[in-house]
């Protein structure tokens, strides 16, 4: 399906201290962002997202994205301030079977008496390094005209 994630992406996905935000859109294009600490990778290089609230706006938007080919965005913010954005497409909604049941058991073990609405498999299309240092370097290299002159004033 897709390539395995690079080491830095895997590290951020696996680090419990990483802040993970999932942004979806509805049919009118209105965005909806939620913190999703359950986001992780699977063996095939996809992102797995656990949805505990079956009637949530996110679950609705994810379904709409799968039906109509809309992308979603995942923002990862590491404890060192680095950040990555993954753009992808919900590929599969798992609501039954061994994969679902394994996540169901694990979720309840971690969080207690909760339920699991769906296991979403998101196929990543693009991974963007959104860390300031990286973006600043890219901006300076690609757009040498975009700067205030006082920044290069002679002393």
């Amino acid at each position: 399906m897709t390539a395995k994630f690079a080491e830095n992406v895997m590290r951020m996905l696996e680090d419990e201290r990483t802040v993970k935000v999932l942004t979806t859109v509805d049919s009118s294009g209105t965005p909806h962002s939620v913190v999703k600490n359950s986001l992780r990778s699977d063996e095939e290089g996809n992102i797995v997202c656990l949805e505990l609230i079956e009637s949530s706006r996110t679950n609705s938007n994810m379904t709409g994205s799968l039906w109509f080919g809309r992308k979603v965005s995942i923002l990862l913010v590491g404890r060192d301030g680095s950040s990555l954005q993954i753009k992808g497409r919900p590929y599969k909604c798992v609501v039954a079977g061994p994969v679902f049941e394994a996540h169901y058991r694990e979720t309840r073990k971690q969080l207690g008496n909760v339920d699991l609405g769906a296991v979403w498999i998101i196929a990543p299309d693009e991974i963007i390094d959104e860390s300031f240092e990286t973006r600043w370097r890219e901006e300076s290299d690609a757009h040498p005209l975009r700067k205030h002159l006082d920044r290069i004033r002679a002393e």
């Binding site: 509805d26 049919s27 079956e54 706006r57 679950n59 609705s60 938007n61 379904t63 709409g64 799968l66 039906w67 109509f68 590929y91 599969k92 909604c93 798992v94 609501v95 039954a96 079977g97 061994p98 679902f100 049941e101 169901y104 058991r105 309840r108 699991l116 769906a118």
Partner: protein, 412 residues
């Protein structure tokens, strides 16, 4: 439906293109149900190796009874179920196959999408203390347990059963007892609940039983006995459940609600037109009548609450020949108009896709176009949105047999 061979039916792809605001998964589901499916030997082999169900007992179909094992049914990538089986219809069926290691659904040699089959629950290989195989007591959808406590419909006693229904002819072939024992049900549910995350709903349905002091009293008593047996497995008084039964009187429904853990109630009106109902469901018309059947469903909202009562129709049967509507437009208009009356009274109407099963009076008839089912699904969904009707009790997960309720997954 009038069999007009000159009428050009839009294909799945054409319908998807024409209705860009309707989920292509819902359209695919309706088309697979309408045209049915066959399984290649590779698909059957993959199902056998993958822990999927190849055997099932239901009141309308049984699989594996004669050694004819094949996947019980399908799931689509969006998690919705497709309830279908290899029934011969006048149209070319889809084919489930395995390509490059993936299970796929094919149409005319082209891959349409990846699919999955229905997994086998752990209880299915076990037997009850009476020696009955548990797979004969309860069948399993992806997240729902189905218990059908009585496999014969007594509207057929004098030949007045519903003309689309094969239940009684299937029962005669099945050669199993009509009635399922309550203790067997208790033990099967107890075993099923040991599998964490496997089931979120229990559905009961059965053939109509007309006997008793009041019409249907014996059917009511049977449901109470079975529901009480199921209920012993829960620590809460009520548990997520649905009973699809005859249209019981108010006092009968009160009895079921008070004495059991049942949470939702369905009585199928089958066809939303009094004249067509009388022709298609002659026994129901004779014993209860369309208007009274409808009134009883409306009355049930007072007991179970809005959002916990609905009614099913056999989508498309209103176009059956020779007594059905003459055109799809006319059928759709009449059906949605009547469905709105249900919605006004707090009752959601859901549709399945009519498949003329062998053993039914209508076997061999041609069903409506795919576009008809898309318009019907959309129409019923729009009514639910307009009248703020929740459809949890029969949605993509707790049932999976209704293209129209799948549409509720995305907020509008």
């Amino acid at each position: 439906m009038k069999n007009n061979e000159d009428f050009h039916e839009l294909s799945y792809k054409e319908v998807v293109e024409k209705y860009p605001d309707v989920s292509p998964f819902v359209i695919l589901k309706a088309d697979i149900q309408r045209r049915t499916v066959t399984y290649t030997p590779e698909a059957v082999e993959a199902a056998a190796r993958g822990g999927y169900q190849l055997q099932s007992r239901g009141i309308f179909t049984s699989i594996g009874r004669d050694g004819d094992f094949f996947p019980v049914s399908l799931m689509l990538r969006d998690g919705s179920s497709v309830f279908t089986s290899p029934v011969r219809t006048p149209r070319e069926p889809y084919a489930a196959d395995v390509v490059d290691g993936k299970k796929v659904i094919m149409d005319g040699g082209e891959i349409v999408d990846e699919v999955d089959f229905w997994y086998m629950p752990d209880y299915m290989g076990k037997t009850t203390s009476s020696g009955r195989p548990m797979w004969q007591v309860a069948s399993a959808r992806p997240q729902r347990m189905d218990i059908d406590p009585y496999s014969y419909c007594h509207f057929w006693d004098d030949g007045k059963g519903c003309r689309y229904c094969n239940m009684s002819s299937h029962f005669k072939k099945d050669a199993l007892p009509a009635r399922i024992d309550a203790q067997d049900v208790y033990e099967t549910v107890r075993e099923a609940l040991k599998q964490d995350g496997r089931f979120c709903y229990i559905k009961l349905t059965a053939g109509s039983i007309l006997s008793g002091e009041e019409l249907f009293d014996d059917e009511v008593n049977m449901y109470i006995e079975i529901l009480q047996a199921i209920g012993k497995n829960f620590r809460t008084r009520k548990f997520p459940s649905q009973m699809i039964s005859s249209a019981f009187s108010l006092s009968q429904l009160e009895r079921v609600y008070e004495q059991t853990g049942l949470m939702s109630y369905t009585s199928d009106i089958e066809v939303l037109n009094e004249e067509k109902f009388a022709w298609i469901c002659p026994g129901k018309q004779l014993k209860v009548g369309y208007r009274e059947w409808k009134k009883r469903i409306f009355d049930a909202v007072g007991i179970f609450g809005k959002g916990f009562v609905n009614s099913g129709i056999v989508g498309g049967v209103e176009l059956a020949g020779p007594g059905g509507f003459g055109s799809e437009d006319e059928a759709l208009r009449a059906t949605l108009e009547e469905a709105e009356d249900f919605a006004v009274h707090g009752v959601s109407v859901v549709h399945c896709v009519w498949v003329p099963y062998p053993g039914s009076v209508f076997y061999g008839q041609r069903t409506p176009s795919l576009e008809y089912f898309v318009r019907l699904s959309k129409g019923l969904h729009d009514l639910r949105v307009r009248y703020d009707l929740d459809t949890d009790m029969d949605d993509y997960r707790r049932c999976g047999n209704h293209p129209d309720t799948d549409l509720a997954r995305v907020f509008t």
